[in-house]
């Protein structure tokens, strides 16, 4: 009798939602402690990037000159009243400026990757799918871009266009997006091409051809989703590179225009009084480090989670 009920129960039980490959990957990701730490850091960065200006005690450009005068013309140290992380030389609240920096970093992180995806994935897919002349042409183009020294190219572009409306757009950020994106798409294009090349010989692609699926749908529905894992990883791991590149540019005074506060430009300003007021360098440096660590851990975790060959090995 008991067995009977179990059997009936088992048959009536609603079938579990399908465990698709993406859901399985998510499960593996959440088992990885470092990846979860990365995910938390990235979520915090996102949160502060999006809501920072609403949380900030001061607008990032407002100068609390009275407080600075009261302090003898020197930046306020951390834990001062009204300024929990202190101020800079001009009396601007450091916490508020860091939050604005977070917004810039987040924007750079995601917009640059969008630029990279929109250039890299289609070009890579075209090259991989059509092979032959299209492939050679596109791959030589990527070789050319690959051969550029990245930073030099970005600096050159920034300097040339700095005074044009194009360079002034979005406080100079637009130029940063384009410059970093232009040197970054190459890796993604190559990766996509490689994925498409290996996947297009698989039997399920032949099967899809045999039922008359169009080339476009084969690439979009069959090839790209199967090759997406490594591309997602490359893009996640490309984010810290982009954040660092933006910070570097800001540090040498290119890119975001003052009074906007990039973490890079905060460090550049702060290091003028490094001995007396180390907090002006320390806090932005910690922010950069945490952001980079977050994306790197998340990227590593994604790589493990999305690589079917590592399944069950951790």
């Amino acid at each position: 009798m008991a067995t009977n009920t179990t059997v009936v129960g088992a048959r009536v039980a609603k079938p579990k939602a399908s465990a698709g490959p993406w859901r399985e990957a998510a499960g593996r990701l959440f088992k990885n402690k470092l990846a979860v730490l990365g995910l938390i850091l990235v979520s915090l960065l996102l949160f502060f990037g999006i809501f920072g200006p609403f949380l900030a005690p001061w607008p990032y450009q407002v100068q609390d000159l009275q407080a600075v005068f009261a302090n003898g013309g020197r930046p306020l140290p951390p834990l001062s009243p009204n300024h929990i992380l202190g101020t800079d030389q001009l009396g601007r609240d450091l916490l508020s400026r860091l939050l604005d920096g977070a917004r810039i970093s987040v924007t750079v992180a995601f917009v640059v990757q969008l630029v990279i995806i929109f250039i890299g994935v289609p070009l890579g897919a075209l090259a991989g799918w059509y092979a032959g002349l299209v492939d050679s042409g596109l791959m030589r183009l990527t070789d050319i871009f690959y051969a550029f020294p990245d930073l030099l190219f970005i600096i050159l572009l920034s300097v040339v266009f700095r005074e044009t409306p194009f360079g002034q757009a979005l406080d100079g950020l637009f130029l940063v997006f384009v410059a970093i994106g232009l040197v970054g798409w190459v890796t993604v294009a190559r990766l996509t091409r490689g994925q498409i090349l290996s996947l297009k010989e698989t039997e399920f692609v032949e099967a899809a051809r045999a039922i008359g699926v169009s080339d476009r749908n084969i690439v979009l529905r069959h090839l790209l989703p199967n090759g997406m894992g490594p591309i997602i990883v490359a893009i996640t791991l490309g984010i810290p590179t982009a954040i660092l590149a933006e910070a570097t540019l800001a540090y040498i005074g290119i890119g975001v225009q003052p009074p906007r506060a990039s973490w890079g430009s905060l460090i550049a300003e702060g290091q003028k009084s490094l001995r007396a007021d180390p907090h002006l360098v320390t806090f932005p440096a910690i922010c950069i480090a945490l952001a980079l660590i977050g994306f790197t851990f998340l990227g590593d975790g994604l790589r493990d989670a999305l690589d079917p060959k590592l399944k069950g090995k951790q």
């Binding site: 399908s18 399920f204 039922i211 529905r221 199967n226």
Partner: protein
């Protein structure tokens, strides 16, 4: 017929007993009549002088060389032969799926329902594939996309070719899944291929092949990757459904037992050529080509003495780069004479509907 059945059933007893049942045969006869309605040509498929060559760095491989055959409306034609003899390339050529480069259909014509397939534009060909010509592949494990649900994959050709609205397409998919014997089809729609067993996946492949009610199914060794009990089920499914839908089947197999049980007629291929063709009855009862004898002889038999070695055909098929103008089976043939080395025999009529390519079994040949 009786003797040939005995001979063949040894390897695959359940298959043959199941499939030769009168019901299935009657259903198939009905199907042939039904499929004839609205026909546009004498045969559904007429392959004439088909030659598919592969241009490799080592030379031109003549994988399929001057192949001729017909498939009637609703008929099941077998294509048998050992590995590398051009069976699959023939099927791929019909669907124009031969990878180019290195492959190329260099000569011949393929008339499908009165349409010259080789003259179609790539776009028209794409519309024919999946709609009029279904394909069942050898390995259901790799022929399904692991990242898409089976519901999506079955719906793919329905959406592509029939343009049904969402709801109607879904109903059709569920109906197809039920037809191929998948339990709880409505629930399994959103499952992924890895959640199905090999046999179930092959059923899904059959559902995909049948999804647009094609006139012809090209089944390329549909059961090679499955174990014997599942093989029997899958073959029966193909047979029952093709009868029901009036679909012609070109069944590629290296298993003569399967060919005998499933097919109306059989073509034996060797080294890119058809070497013998006939109805199942004539060909298995009275094969007229030493290669066919070898194939039949190599089947294990129920009355074999225990411990006896299985019989094989000695040697390997020839390289198909610049094959000599001689009988291609000659080097492996026990009955070879000078004539076989000097010229290649033609396919000649032996009895009604039975042709063979062999000097030795010609009326003036040296084998009775």
């Amino acid at each position: 017929m009786v003797s040939s059945e005995e001979e063949l059933s040894a390897g695959d007893a359940p298959t043959i007993v199941e499939l030769s049942s009168d019901d299935v045969l009657r259903a198939r006869a009905d199907a042939v009549t039904k499929a004839g309605v609205g026909r546009k040509a004498d045969h559904l498929l007429e392959v004439r002088g088909l030659s598919t060559h592969f241009f490799t760095p080592d030379g031109v491989v003549q994988a399929v060389d001057d192949v001729n055959f017909d498939v009637g409306y609703g008929e099941t034609l077998g294509l048998v032969g050992e590995s590398g003899c051009g069976k699959s390339v023939t099927a791929l050529s019909i669907a124009r799926l031969v990878a180019d480069p290195p492959g190329k259909i260099v000569a011949g014509s393929i008339l499908f329902d009165g349409i010259d397939v080789l003259k179609l534009s790539a776009e028209d060909m794409r519309k024919l594939r999946g709609k009029e010509i279904g394909f069942i592949f050898q390995d259901p494990l790799t022929s399904l996309n692991p990242t898409l649900t089976i519901g999506y994959q079955i719906g793919e050709s329905i959406r592509e070719h029939l343009g049904l609205p969402q709801k109607a397409a879904k109903d059709r998919i569920i109906e197809l899944l039920a037809k191929v014997g998948i339990p709880r089809p409505a629930d399994r729609l959103n499952d992924y291929p890895h959640q199905f067993s090999g046999g179930m996946r092959q059923r899904v492949m059959i559902a995909i092949a049948l999804s647009c009610d094609p006139k012809l199914i090209l089944a390329d060794e549909p059961t090679t990757a499955l174990d014997v009990t599942i093989q029997a089920q899958i073959l029966e499914l193909i047979q029952v459904l093709s009868s029901e839908f009036g679909t012609a089947v070109l069944l590629i197999t290296h298993d003569l037992g399967i060919a005998a049980g499933m097919c109306d007629r059989v073509n034996v291929m060797y080294a890119g050529r058809i070497v013998e063709t006939g109805t199942v009855d004539t060909l298995f009862e009275n094969p007229r080509m030493p290669y066919a004898w070898g194939l039949l002889d190599s089947l294990p038999r129920i009355d074999d003495v225990r411990g006896d070695r299985l019989r094989t055909i000695e040697g390997l098929p020839p390289l198909l780069i610049n094959p000599p103008h001689a009988c291609r089976f000659g080097p492996r043939c026990a009955y070879i004479r000078d004539k076989c080395r000097e010229s290649e025999p033609e396919l000649t009529q032996r009895e009604a509907g039975h042709m063979a390519r062999c000097w030795a079994t010609e009326p003036e040949g040296w084998i009775e």
